[in-house]
Amino acid sequence: MWTWFYRLASPPYVYRTAAALTPWLMTVAVIAIVCGLIGGLGLAPPDYQQGDAFRIIYVHVPSAYMSLFCYSAMAVAGAIGLIWRIKMSYALAAATAPVGASFTALALVTGSLWGRPMWGTYWAWDPRLTSELILLFLYAGVMSLRPAFEDPARGDRAAALLSIVGFVNVPIIHYSVQWWNSLHQGATIAKIGKPSMPGSMLWPLLTMLLGFMCFYGAVVCMRLRGEVLNRERQSAWVREAIKS
C-alpha cells in the first residue's frame, strides 16, 4: 500500500515525473491566468468605492495567498524530511523557497501600490503588512541558512528546522485582520457561502488563484529537477539520464 509513497521518494521517479508534469501545469497556468486577466481587467465592473484600482486584487491576493501556501509547503516538506528522512522532501523544500519569497515580495509591492490610492500611504506598520514582511525575512533566513553548511544534508536539516520554527508566523498573518484593528481589509473569499464579492468580480480572482497555483507547480517541478541532479550527482541513474 505504501509503494506509491516510497516511489515518490525515489529520485529517478521524481526527476521523470517532474519533467512530465511541467508542460501540463504550465499550460493550465497560462490559460487560467489569461482568462483571469481578461475577466479581471476587462469584464469585471469597476468597484463603486475603489473604481478601477480594485483590479490590483487580481495579482495581489493570488501572490499573497501563494506566499503563505509556499511557506507552508516548505515547512511541511521540511517536517516530512526530518521525520521520515526522505531526501526528496528536502529537495522540494529547497525548490519552493525562492518561488515563495518572490511571491511574498510581489504581494508586498502590489499591496503597497494599492495602498497609496486607497489608504493614502505606500506603507503602514499594521499587523498584516508587518507580519508579511517578517515572512519575507523568514524566507531570507531559510535561504541563507541552507548553503552555509559544508555538508548539504546538514544544511537541508537545519533549513527544515528553521522553516518549521518560523511557521508560527503563517497563522499570525492569516488571522491578523481578525485579532487586531487592522488597516487591511478582512477575509475576501474565505467566508463560505457568502463571499463579500459579487460573482463577476469573484470568478476572475479564483481563476487567477488557480493559475498562480499551477504556475507554482510547474516552476517547482522545473527547480526540483535541478535540485535532484545536485543531490544525486554521484548516482548511476543520473549519468544515464544526462548522457541521453
Binding site: 481587467l41 473604481g51 484600482a53 495579482v59 525562492p98 509591492v109 502590489t110 516552476v219 541532479l229 548522457k243
Partner: protein, 51 residues
C-alpha cells in the same frame, strides 16, 4: 482608451500587473538556469571520473 486609464489609477494598476509579469518570468528563467547549471555540473563530474 478608458481601459488604459483605469479610471485614473493607471500609474498604480499597470505597474502592479507589470511587476507580476516580471516576477512570473523571473521564476521561469531562474528555474531553467538552475536546472541547466545542475546539468553542467553533472556532466563535468562525469567527465572527471571518466578521465
Amino acid at each position: 482608451m478608458n481601459f488604459w486609464a483605469m479610471g485614473g489609477y493607471a500609474r498604480f494598476v499597470w505597474p502592479c500587473f507589470g511587476l507580476a509579469g516580471l516576477v512570473l518570468a523571473w521564476n521561469v528563467w531562474s528555474a531553467r538556469r538552475f536546472h541547466a547549471a545542475a546539468r553542467v555540473r553533472v556532466a563535468r563530474a562525469i567527465l572527471m571520473t571518466e578521465e
